[in-house]
């Protein structure tokens, strides 16, 4: 059989891979279980919220609040089939509520780029720095050339969400997500192929 490798493992976070094992382990209190979940999932949720809120303080608050809501939800003996999807959905709703109260305007990708440029501008080999910068610029440009939907699908997939979970979170059909990811991966691949050949 042709060895295809595991693409998912390239971008799937460790947290997501080990989640199911920890959730099903028995003999711990509810607090301990939620704490374990928090340790595994708070960064993916936080990163997702950073894209939504563009505010690290607000993203941190909403991340914590999402896990506290999960705790309360379970405490009331209400079922949660998929804690990861549940957390992302609650985080998304809280982010929407927060943004209605207080929105800040910033293009995250531009701001991200500025920061990475600043960080890299300190004492590296100039030639290497130039090559790195060109490569980073091409990466950035390729990702920015995607549509918002395609980019969001990639980010969520990279956080370990399955296609169905992304579709549920974004309230679109699974075929829409599949099509978005297909277009996105092909565009990125072709953009770099062209870049390499030029």
């Amino acid at each position: 059989m042709y060895n295809v490798g595991n693409a998912a493992s390239q971008i799937l976070s460790d947290e997501a891979l080990t989640l199911s094992a920890s959730v099903t382990s028995a003999s711990s209190t509810l607090s301990e279980r939620v704490q374990t979940l928090f340790e595994q999932l708070h960064l993916p949720v936080f990163r997702y919220l950073m894209r939504k809120t563009k505010d690290s303080g607000q993203a941190e608050d909403i991340t914590q609040e999402s896990f506290l809501r999960l705790f309360r939800h379970l405490k009331e003996e209400r079922p949660v089939d998929n804690p990861k999807a549940w957390l992302f959905t609650v985080a998304n709703n809280l982010a929407i509520d927060a943004s209605r109260r207080d929105g800040r305007l910033q293009d995250l990708d531009e701001a991200t780029w500025d920061r990475i440029e600043d960080a890299r501008a300190s004492g590296d080999d100039p030639e290497r720095l130039t090559l790195q910068r060109e490569r980073m610029e091409r990466l950035r440009s390729a990702v920015l050339n995607l549509t918002d939907l395609e980019r969001e699908c990639l980010h969520l997939r990279a956080e370990g969400l399955r296609y169905r979970e992304i579709a549920d979170l974004m309230n679109v059909s699974m075929s829409c997500i599949t099509a978005g990811l297909r277009r996105a991966t092909l565009k990125l691949s072709q953009a770099f192929e062209n870049g390499a050949s030029s």
Partner: protein, 566 residues
């Protein structure tokens, strides 16, 4: 040797499509399905190349994420240090020791499944597998194309927006009593006059059209659709509880979405089978009236060709005309806006290069676009060669914009989740389509200045106009689909006026508007951004949408201005 002979068989003798390859690559298929795809790509170079192309895309994003995105992402200012105490505080709120113990016990039991007897575990496992099978076959639908989308594509295939074309279709019509061959004709660009179905198979007058099937389908209340893809053909079967027809199916080729068969079962159990024997589109432009689509007619010789030396020197090819014919052929086949292809000129030929979206399509292009002198095809199978870059699509949201979700309004307007998703899918598809046609327009406008246009033969100018108008019309159709979003938005102040000076600047302004709007649509209905107010996002969408709609209409109705279609 035919390449088809070398192809290993997948399901029903066909290759997995891109979506199946992606789903297998991303471990979204069942282990059995994944193994089947992997077995196929182990022996099929085309599919393996495509598979690796998607893999490269994933790795590119992973590199971007790891080297650009994550390192620059701000960390949580308080490092989540408060969380343990917040959790403890929440845990102790109104919770007695007894309840805590109870919860602990219940959750432990719940997660351990110790309470489930062995037999019940088997039953549960079996039920889970059955649910997975039902989900896979009925809900997820590996075909990944809705019935509506399939019919729309098929209708476009039979009745392209191209003007001045006449379709001739020969159909074998078979009933229990007789078998005949009938011919149908219609002009493209408008409704097909003989599409509507009757109720009597013995006096059947309708052509074999997706439009007719769609008309019947739309007239039903509560039809049940079943969509299958097998051996390179889609089969859509619709059953209905009441009416003169109780079941009908249409078979559509996968490569070009062309309807090939239709089968109807009437309520009195009479049957009608239609099979297409031939289908051709004939150009109605006088100068090339005998040319049948989709083959490219040979380009005319250059007016400066040395006519006196016939037989000794090959006639010089007019590359402008060859290129125009090539573009027109791609336009009539819908390959000029949704495929990643580039047209370039060398000193002595016009070259189409890029990668087709599927191996089948690449082969179809090889057949359709090759032939006339002066045109060279360098279209590769997916993944096997460098291709032209895709047009730059919406580049994020302009800084300073304000974009929320319309989650609450969508939920208010559509009670059913399915209806809501259908609506969202339609909006996203319409926006995507508008963007594709806008880019196709832009490419044409940038390629053909007014002077370039005047240098073409009159009939070629007509074809150029037809392409411009065709893309504008399709863009206008997508605009009207997006009108559905207006109902969800609060009234806003009048949109800004966009009145570019001239047709060409108008098209470029339209492309910008459509691009902005695409980003807003995704944010409004699919939640790609949430950080902004509903009012501001709505206002921006309305402004972009209404300006785009008005501008598209204005451009369509602006004759005699620069290189505007006449």
């Amino acid at each position: 040797m035919s390449t088809e002979i070398l192809k290993p068989e997948f399901v029903g003798g066909q290759h997995p499509d891109d979506d199946q390859l992606l789903l297998a690559l991303d471990r979204e298929l069942s282990p059995g399905e994944t193994a089947e795809v992997e077995r196929h790509i182990g022996t099929c170079w085309d599919c393996r190349a495509r598979y690796h192309e998607m893999h490269r895309g994933m790795l590119t994003f992973a590199e971007y994420r790891n080297k650009v995105y994550l390192p620059a992402l701000e960390s949580a200012p308080r490092g989540f240090r408060q969380f343990p105490s917040l959790l403890n505080k929440t845990a102790s709120e109104g919770l007695g020791a007894g309840l805590l113990d109870s919860l602990r016990t219940r959750l432990g039991v719940l997660f351990s499944f110790d309470w489930v007897p062995v037999q019940a575990k088997w039953v549960t496992a079996t039920a889970a597998i059955m649910m997975a099978v039902v989900f896979w076959t009925q809900v997820f639908d590996p075909a990944s194309l809705s019935a509506g989308e399939l019919l729309t594509k098929a209708a476009q295939s039979q009745n392209p927006r191209a003007l001045h074309r006449e379709v001739r279709q020969r159909v074998r019509v078979k009933t229990a009593k007789a078998e005949t061959v009938r011919e149908f004709q219609w002009a493209t660009g408008g409704p097909i006059p003989n599409a509507k179905w009757g109720a009597d198979p013995e006096n059947w007058t309708a052509a074999l059209t997706a439009e007719g099937f769609a008309q019947w389908h739309d007239s039903l209340s509560g039809p049940k659709d079943n969509l299958k893809k097998s051996a390179g053909r889609w089969t859509m079967k619709t059953t209905v509880a009441a009416g003169p027809i109780k079941e009908a199916s249409i078979v559509i080729r996968d490569g070009d979405f062309h309807p090939a068969e239709q089968h109807i079962l009437f309520s009195d159990d009479r049957t009608l089978d239609l099979e297409e024997l031939s289908f051709e589109m004939v150009d109605q432009v006088p100068a090339s009236a005998t040319t049948a689509a989709p083959a490219i007619p040979p380009p005319p010789e250059s007016p400066v060709a040395p006519q006196s030396q016939e037989g000794t020197v090959p006639p010089q090819i007019n590359l402008d005309e060859a290129e125009l014919e090539l573009r027109y052929a791609m336009f009539t086949q819908h390959w000029d806006y949704d495929e990643d292809l580039q047209i370039a000129r060398t000193a002595d030929e016009v070259v189409v290069s890029g990668t087709a979206s599927s191996a089948d399509l690449a082969r179809q292009m090889q057949t359709t676009l090759v032939g006339p002198p002066g045109v060279r095809l360098s279209v590769s199978m997916p993944g096997s060669a460098p291709s032209g870059s895709a047009p730059a699509t919406a580049k994020g949201t302009p800084s300073g914009s304000s974009i929320p979700l319309l989650k609450d309004r969508l939920e208010g307007a559509f009670v059913s989740v399915d209806a809501r998703r259908d609506f969202i899918d339609r909006c996203l598809a319409a926006s995507d389509s508008a963007l594709s046609h806008a880019w196709a327009l832009k490419r044409l406008v940038e390629r053909y200045t007014d002077a370039d246009r005047r240098a073409l033969r009159p009939e070629s100018q007509i074809k150029l106009d037809e392409m411009l108008r065709g893309h504008l019309q399709q863009l206008a159709v997508s605009n009207s689909t997006l009108d559905g979003l207006l109902d969800l938005l609060a009234p806003s102040r009048p949109p800004r006026e966009v009145t570019p000076d001239g047709w060409r600047p108008g098209v470029l302004a339209l492309v910008d508007l459509v691009q902005q709007r695409d980003s807003l649509v995704a944010a409004l209905v699919a939640g790609t951004q949430t950080n902004y107010s509903t009012a501001a996002a709505s206002e921006r969408f309305l402004a972009a949408h209404e300006a785009a709609t008005r501008l598209a209409r204005e451009l369509l109705n602006r004759p005699g201005d620069g290189n505007a279609p006449k």
